[in-house]
């Protein structure tokens, strides 16, 4: 996409096709409500469209820009929701840290989905379930060294995917 990436209607369609899944995933993770998540994604593309001329691909990717808009939308929706007594009786505005935590969680979970099944499997068994390597190896019918090497390549794959997703440590 060239300068003014969202200045044409067709660009919005292309941007939607490319990024709506991720944006919706993050919105749902942080708002925990399908209706609000849908609203957030819609609002994000409309704001992007209205500000399309201001998008500068020299500064960052379209994806990064859309995520920055979505982050603001989520904050707005979170605030709007917090004034409803059902959700937050204290009336305290939601702070930004839980949102950043939600973004991080969503990124890591999404990266986990994208790495190979074999890699994800050994990370789940050894790390999340804390099972011994020998036991996992027996279950999978592979040598223990293979489990170890899959853990190594799994972490590397995860790093690559996170970098692709724009994660910076």
């Amino acid at each position: 996409m060239a300068t003014g990436a969202l200045s044409r209607e067709r660009d919005v369609r292309e941007a939607y096709a490319a990024h709506s899944g991720e944006l919706y995933g993050f919105a749902l993770r942080s708002l925990d409500d399908a209706g609000l998540a849908e609203e957030a994604v819609q609002e994000t593309f409309l704001r992007a469209w209205r500000a399309g001329e201001r998008f500068d691909p020299e500064i960052g990717s379209l994806r990064t820009w859309l995520f920055a808009i979505l982050r603001n939308v989520v904050i707005d929706l979170g605030r709007a929701r917090s004034v409803r007594p059902k959700v937050a009786e204290s009336g305290i505005e939601p702070s930004v840290e839980p949102l950043d935590e939600a973004l991080l969680s969503w990124q890591v979970e999404e990266a986990m989905r994208r790495i190979g099944d074999d890699h994800r499997r050994v990370l789940v068994e050894t790390y999340y379930r804390g099972r011994p390597y020998a036991e996992v190896a027996a279950e999978l019918g592979v040598p223990e060294g293979t489990v170890k090497s899959r853990v190594y390549y799994g972490l590397r794959a995860l790093r690559v995917v996170l970098e692709e997703m724009g994660y910076e440590d």
Binding site: E9, S20, Y152, L155, D169
Partner: protein, 237 residues
Amino acid sequence: MKTERCRDWRESLGAYALGHLAAPERAALEAHLEGCPDCREEVKALSGVAVLLPHADPERFAAPAPQPPADLGERIAATVAAEGKRDLGRRKRRRFQLAFGGVAATAAVAALLTLVVLPGSGETTPEQQVQFASLPSGVAIDATLEPHSFGTEIHMYVSGIRSGTLCRVFLRGADGSRYPAGSFRYRWGEDSVAVLSSALDLSRTEAIGVHAGNRTFIAPVDQATVSVENETKEDAT
């Protein structure tokens, strides 16, 4: 530097970064790391990932990534297309608004807004015009609802409320449930026509509502002229 021994150790570095190596193996690996900047660099990279793992919930990533509703893209595209078409009219309207800017900028939201629904200008068009009347001087809210195959397109015009106020719009169906139509932030001096859309069919829309600040205003969507105060439900016939 890379040595033969690196190859032996390399694939243990993941388990090491996760703290999974038994003491003897860990000690032996650490002895290697001391003399091997390459492997140290690799451990650093893997540790950067390892510290992120606790943030992920394995139950969540075991499930497929959630997808937005299939028609959301169409609704957004339709809203964008409509907004593009209306650009000219919007600019005209803005000039009109600026002429009264002084009044608008000093007015606050009324405690109670009385909403009056007026019939659309052309009775034959399926478009619904909803006007919010009896507002304090300088405040104006009205909306136009258009039927589409994807649902309902809403053009909402707001002026004179506190700058920065978040306005969330929804439609209420005949069954009483709410369908979000999007939100916008009202700013002084900016274009204040918001184009929104909802999946709810106009023919099944009973009312339109706006949350502004912490208030909710609901207007029935029908042909009759009806007054409502705040969130009280009315039979619009």
